[in-house]
């Protein structure tokens, strides 16, 4: 039987209780993107500050939501801070793979369709670390959208940062 302990792993509850990188960044220079889950009203705000060399030098998370959406956002913020935009995109693909979502399109527009396929292979070497704890979400299909909300929002923020 699938138990709640598969969903509410200790590390998830830890990120929920003590969210990392919680707050706001000044815009500009940071990008600010909001994401909504229309199903439940959860809301995530991702602030992303990217330096000239394409490295995410700061990130902040706002909004409110359930333990899964909030802990996923918190872990995501830790995972992408200090990484390049390109690595962050690979992480998105790797995370969505963990959620059993295999998309060919990761950007907001169609232009990255090809890139998505290419990244899928590359994403295999991306270390998800703590994020692995969210693996159990797959057994609770309606919660997958909670877990991916911040990642979809990040994808949009990366597009905007790259375009800026």
């Amino acid at each position: 039987m699938i138990g709640l302990e598969d969903l509410y792993r200790e590390i998830i509850l830890d990120h929920y209780r003590t969210p990392r990188n919680r707050g706001e960044l000044e815009t500009p220079p940071a990008q600010r993107v909001e994401g909504f889950n229309p199903l439940c009203g959860d809301e995530i705000i991702v602030y992303l500050q990217v330096d000239d060399s394409g490295v995410i030098d700061d990130v902040a998370i706002g909004g409110q939501g359930c333990s899964i959406s909030q802990s996923s956002a918190s872990m995501m913020s830790v995972a992408i801070k200090g990484r390049t935009i390109e690595d962050a995109r690979k992480l998105i693909v790797a995370f969505k793979g963990l959620m059993s979502i295999h998309e060919t399109e990761i950007g907001g527009d169609g232009s990255e369709a090809a890139l998505g396929i290419e990244l899928e292979g590359a994403a295999e070497d991306m270390k998800l670390g703590d994020l692995e704890a969210l693996r159990g979400v797959v057994k609770f299909p309606i919660r997958i959208k909670c877990a991916t909300l911040s990642w979809n929002t990040l994808a949009q923020a990366l597009d905007e940062a790259a375009a800026a």
Binding site: C40, G41, C66, I68
Partner: protein, 409 residues
């Protein structure tokens, strides 16, 4: 108890387990379960009566037509409509409200005309008006909701000044609040406006008399009142329906069609284009019989009693942690209880309850403007119907303790 003790056994779906626990269904405000007699009535229609309606001269088609029109007559008498022709079948309450907006309001409202709704409306009674605002430039005005979960009517005169329509829910699907519809109808009429009622949460739970409510339009949806999904009702006074243009065009809704144009059918068929959902209507008719046999006064009494028990039990067991929204007096509300448990997110509460076989809804309940008023973006909601009993509420109270085990920081 005012309803038969064995009533649960009328509902086959309730007899199953989830996660090794007997199902406790507390989501009837979302959709209700169906008694065997409704399921059987629909199967019987397909086994014995099915034919297209209003267009066959053979005996079977006559019977199918009689089944559809018989269901309409049952619904008309259930809500005390003056005439059977005032009952228009639609797909659901949402379609009924859109029919009202597209046909009546689009014809009668001009740019700058006001429609008054409340902050506790379901999106079904908000979005059609937003759409009409975008299309015609109508003005949308909002009756505020106060801290106790009631409508704040102190500025109603000002809001109604120059308004063409007041459209309000009879019972909130989030707070359970019963609104004073008869009084609101009077105030609307005094101001020269018509009165529309979203009775989606009211007709299933209360004796309903459209004439006593003084309404001009009233909408509800079958699936929340023991009937199947896919059938809803728009009731309106016959004069209004007569004057309204058709909503959808096609078969059934015409008397005559030539190359130059068409003549619309009489009401209610004028608004029922195409082959209707006959089995669903039959199911609704049977559900109405079932509810009438129970007696709507008994249904209401049962729910007031259970709501009082729920409010008392949850507060006694979890008083320091639980916040239940809406009126505190059971007689002023229906059996819809939105609650917040500590600082645990409603999604997580619902997930933990599901593990004990308890079905509650978590989310914004299609009432986002109300969520803003409550200062949250979601609640957990337990809602009651005829098949619920005290043991269901005891189980809810027990299972809430498990939320602490996981989330007490």
């Amino acid at each position: 108890m005012t309803l038969p003790a064995a009533i649960k056994s009328d509902f086959p779906l309730l007899d199953q387990q989830f996660h090794d626990h007997q199902l406790v269904y507390l989501d009837s405000a979302n959709t209700s379960q169906k008694p065997q007699v409704v399921i059987d009535a629909m199967a019987d229609y397909y086994e014995n009566t099915n034919a297209n309606v209003h267009r066959g001269s053979y005996e079977l088609a006559v019977r199918a037509t009689a089944a559809l029109e018989g269901a309409r007559a049952k619904v008309a008498s259930f809500i005390n409509a003056k005439s059977v022709s005032e009952v228009v079948f639609t797909k659901n309450a949402t379609e009924s409200m859109n029919l009202l907006a597209r046909s009546w309001a689009e014809t009668n409202l001009r740019s700058g005309d006001a429609v008054v709704i409340s902050e506790m409306e379901h999106h079904a009674n908000i979005v059609p008006w937003h759409m009409l605002r975008a299309q015609k430039g109508i003005e949308l005005r909002w009756i505020p909701v106060d801290q106790s979960g009631h409508l704040d009517l102190s500025s109603l005169d000002r809001l109604l000044d120059g308004a063409k329509l007041l459209s309000v829910t009879a019972m909130s699907n989030v707070l359970g609040t019963l609104n004073p519809i008869a009084q609101l109808s009077e105030r609307a009429h005094a101001a020269g406006a018509l009165m529309a009622v979203d009775a989606s949460q009211y007709v299933p739970h209360m004796p309903t008399d459209v004439q006593a409510l003084g309404a001009d339009f009233l909408v509800f949806t079958g699936h929340k009142m023991l009937a199947p999904m896919g059938i809803g009702v728009l009731w309106a006074r016959a004069e209004l329906l007569d004057a309204m243009p058709p909503f959808l065009g096609g078969g059934e809704m015409i008397l005559n069609v030539t190359k130059d144009g068409f003549t619309a059918n009489e009401i209610p068929w004028k608004f029922e284009a195409g082959t209707p959902m006959v089995a669903e209507a039959v199911g609704l008719g049977r559900a109405v019989d079932y509810l009438s046999d129970l007696g709507m006064d008994n249904v209401r009494r049962h729910e007031v009693e259970l709501t009082a028990y729920a409010l008392r039990t949850l507060t006694e067991r979890h008083g320091d942690k639980i916040t239940i929204h809406g009126p505190t007096e059971p007689a002023e509300r229906g059996g819809v209880m939105s609650f917040i448990y500590g600082d645990v997110h409603p999604h997580d509460v619902a997930q933990v309850l599901d593990q004990s076989g308890i079905a509650v809804r978590a989310g914004h309940h299609c009432a986002k403007p109300l969520m803003d008023v409550l200062g949250t973006n979601a609640t957990s909601r337990a809602s009651l119907y005829v098949y619920n009993d005290k043991s269901d509420l005891d189980k809810l109270a027990d299972a809430l303790s498990a939320v602490d085990d996981i989330f007490s920081f």
